[in-house]
Symmetry: C2
Subunit: 229 residues, 2 copies
């Protein structure tokens, strides 16, 4: 049985999936010499925690606010003594992320297969446009979908529902691609056909569901869609 | 101004606040010699993440399920190769937690001050009874309040609302005591007067609100309530 039969569109997570969030580590290393990756990893973890916690508290904040708040925590935790300008510079790094090396070519192949593509991200409309536009990949996507439209973060089902509305497709007709295991699990619970990109040999989270397919990089996805998985 | 004037009851978080969740580290060390604390810390982090994520996904699971799922993740992540019996033994450690050393005496002082006390926990009715009963502290509490009653985890406001119903008090008339910064922040947003116990010199989370008072241990709380904070 081909798990990817009937896929009519591809929906991508942005942070950590198409774009490397630890490409900010170099900037972090300038602020905290020798500890850039450690700072970057905790910053990312707190950014996600704060997005989940604020959603559970029923509070609407932007992902950019969660990013700033998480950096303020990390700055205090590591005693970095960052001033406002340094904080701004670091947060701006989240607007100028690098795509993973295999991403542009894989998107080109998917486009040649006539599959419509969208990004569905926790980021704001502004941030998504900035990141995607800045990397020159905007033309691949028919929709850039932000949580701005619903005021809550993934894995709340209201976020995932945005893709079905954009494409007028049922969840299972869309391949949802994420490197974030919690996001892949949330999308699978919602009903998407899910591809987890596991670039670093991580362990999938135990959230009661598995992705349909697991790949080591986005370059494997066009072949799976052509030849079956 | 006395921030604690008008307090008519005290509501405690359980895991990490009255009871040391890393008292399971010794058991973890038997399963993963030399790495008990590392295993215990990731287990706790994933346990919390899974409680938040399942709540956001709209799924009702028990905290014990989140605990088991988190251990399954940690076992795979650290390649511990735990069998079912070993997993059960470790999860049982969460039913036999030790209170922090200063806790029994501080509860006694609060009881002498005629303050009614409750526990409000992410745990199930069964787990809360087991932990509190096993440590001989049950008689201090007029209510053991579990998320079982609402099917969602903290910091969802439906959980915090259980305390007001139990005591027929407004949130600000209750002192909510937690060592978990995210829980203290959630409780403060809900409207409780909040005491954060910071036993280890941690940094408070940046979630848009601060606790009314911060202490280094529960032993400081009776004095603050008597003399003002």
């Amino acid at each position: 049985m081909n798990k990817l039969a009937g896929i009519k569109a591809v929906v991508f997570d942005l942070y950590g999936t198409l774009y490397n969030v630890h490409s900010v580590a170099q900037r972090c290393d300038e602020a905290a010499p020798g500890r850039g990756m450690e700072v970057s990893v905790l910053w990312r973890q707190k950014q996600l925690e704060y997005s989940w916690l604020r959603s559970l508290m029923g509070q609407t904040i932007s992902f950019e606010q969660a990013t700033r708040d998480a950096l303020a925590f990390v700055s205090a935790h590591f005693k970095l003594e960052l001033d406002t300008a340094a904080m701004e510079t670091l947060c701006d790094a989240y607007l100028n992320l690098s795509p993973y090396p295999e991403v542009p070519d894989a998107l080109r192949k998917l486009q040649e297969m006539k599959l419509p593509m969208a990004i569905l991200s926790n980021g704001s409309d502004f941030s998504i446009s900035k990141v995607v536009g800045g990397s020159g990949l905007q033309s691949f996507f028919s929709h850039l979908l932000s949580v701005d439209a619903v005021g809550v973060f993934k894995p709340d089902s209201r976020v995932y529902a945005l893709a079905g509305k954009a494409f007028s497709l049922a969840p299972e007709e869309m391949l949802f691609v994420s490197s974030n295991a919690w996001d892949a699990a949330g999308a699978a619970h919602y009903g998407f056909t899910v591809c987890w990109i596991n670039r670093s040999g991580n362990t999938f989270d135990e959230l009661g569901i598995s992705p349909a397919v697991v790949v080591g990089g986005l370059d494997e996805v066009p072949g799976l869609l052509l030849n079956g998985a």
